[in-house]
């Protein structure tokens, strides 16, 4: 009992200056289907979605919705045709009420005035039907990101959507919230919507979706049923290597063995309202993971180690010598480097070139009067572009035009160029494709092993932490609750430590 075809995209081409972003891509979506688009960063997933939603105009090919040719020129046209999108970053207005957010731009009116009673009533009904029971007259910022996401979905489907596109909807949700979202998605599936689900989490794809379309380098690799495509095979198709090569990708390099020498010591540091208490030692040649839930104090600890925040208690010591950083520059002088969690707002300088982004920290450290000559900048940039395999059309390309994974690599390059002894990576692999993820994990281990660098690795993904780190500091409620080393480093121990004994 095949469902009717909702959407057919045929021979889609899209060319950007110097890049063929999509070439001859086909995509079919049936009613009542949850279909995942997979591919590494830069494979063309977002471009394909943007062509469909009218953000970009295609250069060739056809799109038909329910057998009718369409050619959306703006997101609004796409929406009117029945294609709704919920983006990774919720794009609603935080200071409007839930109901206002749902009906903004198409408010029901009575005698020329906005009919608030109807708005509130219909919004409540709509959310009730999704199993979300909240007060729709409160402003949006009363609710968690997960609830906001559901409100965005409610808004999307109320506009008579036939197709719902979810772009990385779960990247900022926890497990429970994700399940709630999945319940809603399945409910919409039963109502006959076609759903395109984009995510980097393989588990979620396998849990939720029934079809997968794989793209690579802007070309179609194929469309598959989820049951008939084992995970390893999927990864092989995404990265374009044969199955054996991929199998060995998970055979991780041996973990790094810490050296005797302690690089940095934190003696019960804390910051009022941010961090309760953390004591730890970072040895040279050691990859230390900060594990714990979001908001457990992982990032706060890292920011104190980098001098972005000042501890209000405790003492930091670098190589046994007490230090006070005062600013990131203070930490940089002690050869500490930090890749912040939020790449877009705290990492990249979007309108500058890849070259300028890479030399920035080095230049800041040298001071503005020791200008690095252009030729030297080129040399440094090229070295790290080559070393980290950053995919760029040229070094003077604007960094904002790179894919997420390559932006992340460029930020790591920025710090490696300062020759750090301690490299702190805060969520370096979030929103990044599988191939690059593995590369970054391996790199962390290699740096510790070969250069004796101390590396701090922060991630929400348990298995990447247990694979990469030789020591784990587990945090809960803004304090350190456990330290795991050697064989103790495994998911079960971490879970147990996070769950805690008495407090849960």
């Amino acid at each position: 009992m095949e469902q009717p075809v909702l959407l057919e995209m045929r021979h889609i081409d899209k060319v950007f200056p110097g890049v063929r972003a999509l070439s001859n891509v086909d995509f079919t979506l049936r009613a009542g289907e949850i279909h995942s688009l997979m591919g590494e960063n830069g494979a063309g997933k977002s471009t394909l979605v943007k062509v469909l939603t009218g953000v970009y105009q295609r250069d060739g090919g056809t799109i038909s919705l329910l057998g009718k040719r369409i050619s959306p020129k703006t997101p609004k046209e796409a929406q009117e045709a029945g294609i709704s999108t919920v983006y990774q970053e919720v794009n609603l207005c935080k200071n409007l009420t839930v109901a206002e957010n749902i009906f903004i731009g198409r408010e029901p009116r009575k005698h020329g005035f906005i009919d608030w009673a109807t708005i509130n009533k219909r919004a409540a009904e709509l959310l009730d039907s999704l199993g979300v029971h909240i007060d729709v007259t409160k402003t949006l910022d009363h609710y968690s990101v997960a609830v906001q996401q559901m409100i965005a979905i409610a808004r999307a489907i109320d506009i008579e959507a036939k197709i719902l596109i979810l772009d990385e909807p779960t990247s900022s949700l926890d497990e429970q919230e994700t399940q709630q979202l999945f319940r809603i998605i399945r409910m919409l599936q039963k109502q006959g919507l076609g759903i395109i689900f984009i995510s980097h989490f393989l588990e979620q794809i396998y849990e939720l979706c029934d079809h997968i379309t794989v793209l690579r380098n802007g070309e179609l690799v194929g469309a598959y049923e989820v049951e008939k495509l084992p995970r390893l095979e999927l990864i092989a198709k995404m990265v374009g290597k044969d199955l054996n090569a991929v199998k060995h990708m998970d055979d991780f390099a041996e973990k790094s063995v810490p050296q005797e020498e302690v690089f940095l010591e934190a003696d019960h540091i804390g910051e009022v309202g941010q961090l309760a208490d953390v004591a730890l030692k970072l040895h040279k040649g050691e990859v230390v993971g900060f594990a714990g839930l979001l908001g457990s104090g992982r990032t706060e600890t890292a920011e104190i180690l980098f001098g972005a925040h000042q501890p209000t208690k405790g003492q930091l010591k670098v190589k046994g010598k007490p230090v006070q950083f005062g600013s990131p520059m203070g930490a940089m002088r002690e050869r500490i480097a930090f890749c912040p969690e939020d790449r877009k707002t705290a990492g990249i300088i979007g309108d500058l070139s890849v070259r300028e982004n890479i030399i920035l920290a080095m230049q800041a450290k040298d001071g503005m009067f020791h200008h690095i000559p252009y030729s030297k900048q080129v040399e440094i940039a090229d070295k790290y572009i080559d070393l980290l395999k950053i995919k760029v059309s040229d070094r003077d390309q604007l960094i904002k035009n790179l894919s997420g994974g390559n932006q992340q690599k460029a930020i790591i390059a920025r710090w490696l160029a300062t020759k750090p002894e301690l490299l702190i990576l805060d969520e370096p692999t979030r929103g990044i494709d599988v191939g690059t993820k593995t590369e970054i994990q391996k790199m962390a281990i290699e740096l510790a092993k070969k250069q004796g660098m101390a590396v701090v690795f922060i991630s929400s993904e348990m298995d990447e932490m247990t694979r990469t780190c030789s020591k784990l500091m587990v945090m809960r409620d803004r304090r350190k609750v456990a330290e795991l080393t050697g064989d103790e480093v495994n998911s079960e121990n971490v879970m147990r430590a996070i769950a805690g004994g008495a407090s849960s």
Partner: protein, 364 residues
């Protein structure tokens, strides 16, 4: 031949293209409609004389203000106090020199000039302190000095217009005997060269852009964001101080009410005409300089065509609207598309698919 064509093409892609075209159009208009616009003659005492020289002479203070303003705007800030700082600087130099009828200076000229520029820097530092350290919005922070500045200047001059009879003071905006061009042209040139040197030999440009584009990321990269912002306001104050010298020397007097009046607006306009976005980030010093000269050319043209000073703002506004429209994002996109079509006219690929696109719309 083709290399010339390539160069032309490269130039038409560069950020300077539109500002230069705007100025060129204005100059061409002048050359046609204003008699003797292009004539430059030599006076008996060996000075160059002509409308073009006049425009250069008059645009110097605006060029200097625009330099400082460019940096401020690049950090996503704004400095609306520069006009008032010009008045303060003028008041300082004229008060120190004194209005003695016998033409004797009460303070050595060099000292008085140094003091005026110093006070300009001080004003800029005050703005910088408010914006960088106390995080007051730039518009509000500089509004303080904009409104208070003229009062301060009035206090210094005790409400009088001080006319300086000391002759060498006029040399700042006039011609030193034996020279062929007014001194302020050299001052402006020196300022432009100073900035060019800073751009070439230090990383301040990179830091300013980083701060303007993404201050959070700049901070995490180790840049002292507070210091960078403080410095650009201090530099803007320095520029205003120098402009004050030039402006007061032009009329050989300090007029606290009118010196530098509305010049902050012209300076901001010059920066915008030069292609720097008011939202900060990438900046174009060359564009700002050309923008400043363009504005002055426009003013001079209007006077030459007999437009009265009352009506001048209207005509200026129309010209500015035209220039801004030409440089708007939409117009640039249209221009780029037009260039693309001319360039790749023979390539059928893009055209073919383009037409299918329109057809599909019609069907839908």
């Amino acid at each position: 031949m083709s290399s010339v064509k390539d160069k032309l093409r490269a130039f038409s892609d560069s950020s300077l293209f539109l500002p230069v075209v705007a100025l060129a159009v204005l100059l061409a208009f002048n050359a046609i409609f204003v008699d003797g616009f292009l004539t430059i003659s030599l006076t008996e005492d060996g000075r160059l004389y002509g409308r073009m020289i006049d425009i250069l002479n008059r645009s110097c203070s605006l060029v200097i203000l625009a330099l400082g303003m460019t940096f401020v705007i690049a950090t996503a800030g704004i400095d609306i106090s520069v006009g008032a700082v010009v008045a303060i600087s003028a008041a300082v130099v004229c008060t120190l020199l004194g209005g003695r009828g016998d033409g004797v200076a009460e303070t050595p000229l060099a000292l008085a000039m140094l003091a005026a520029v110093g006070v300009g820097i001080l004003c800029g530092a005050w703005n910088g302190l408010l914006v960088a350290k106390f995080k007051i919005q730039a518009m509000v922070a500089t509004l303080i000095l904009m409104t208070a500045g003229r009062g301060i200047a009035q206090l210094m001059t005790e409400g009088q217009i001080i006319t300086v009879y000391y002759k060498p003071f006029a040399y700042i905006s006039g011609v030193i005997p034996g020279n062929i061009l007014p001194t302020n042209i050299f001052i402006a040139l020196a300022m432009v060269l100073l900035v060019a040197f800073l751009m070439k030999k230090t990383s301040i440009g990179l830091f300013i852009q980083s701060v303007g584009i993404n201050p959070t990321a700049a901070r995490y990269a180790g840049i002292n964001v507070t210091m960078v912002i403080f410095l650009v306001y201090a530099f803007s104050g320095f520029c205003a101080g120098v402009s004050g010298l030039i402006e007061s020397s032009l009329i050989r007097a300090a007029d606290a009410n009118n010196a530098g009046l509305n010049m902050e607006m012209d300076a901001i306009l010059a920066v915008a005409l030069g292609g720097t976005l008011l939202s900060g980030g990438k900046f174009y010093i060359g564009g700002s300089v050309i923008g400043a000269v363009t504005i002055q050319t426009l003013t001079t043209t209007m006077y030459a065509l007999g437009v009265s000073s009352d009506q001048l703002p209207v005509v200026k506004a129309i010209a500015v609207i035209a220039i801004c429209l030409i440089q708007s994002k939409k117009a640039q996109e249209m221009f780029a598309a037009w260039k693309e079509r001319n360039r790749g006219g023979s390539k059928s690929l893009s055209q073919g698919s383009g037409s299918t696109g329109t057809k599909a719309v019609n069907e839908a």
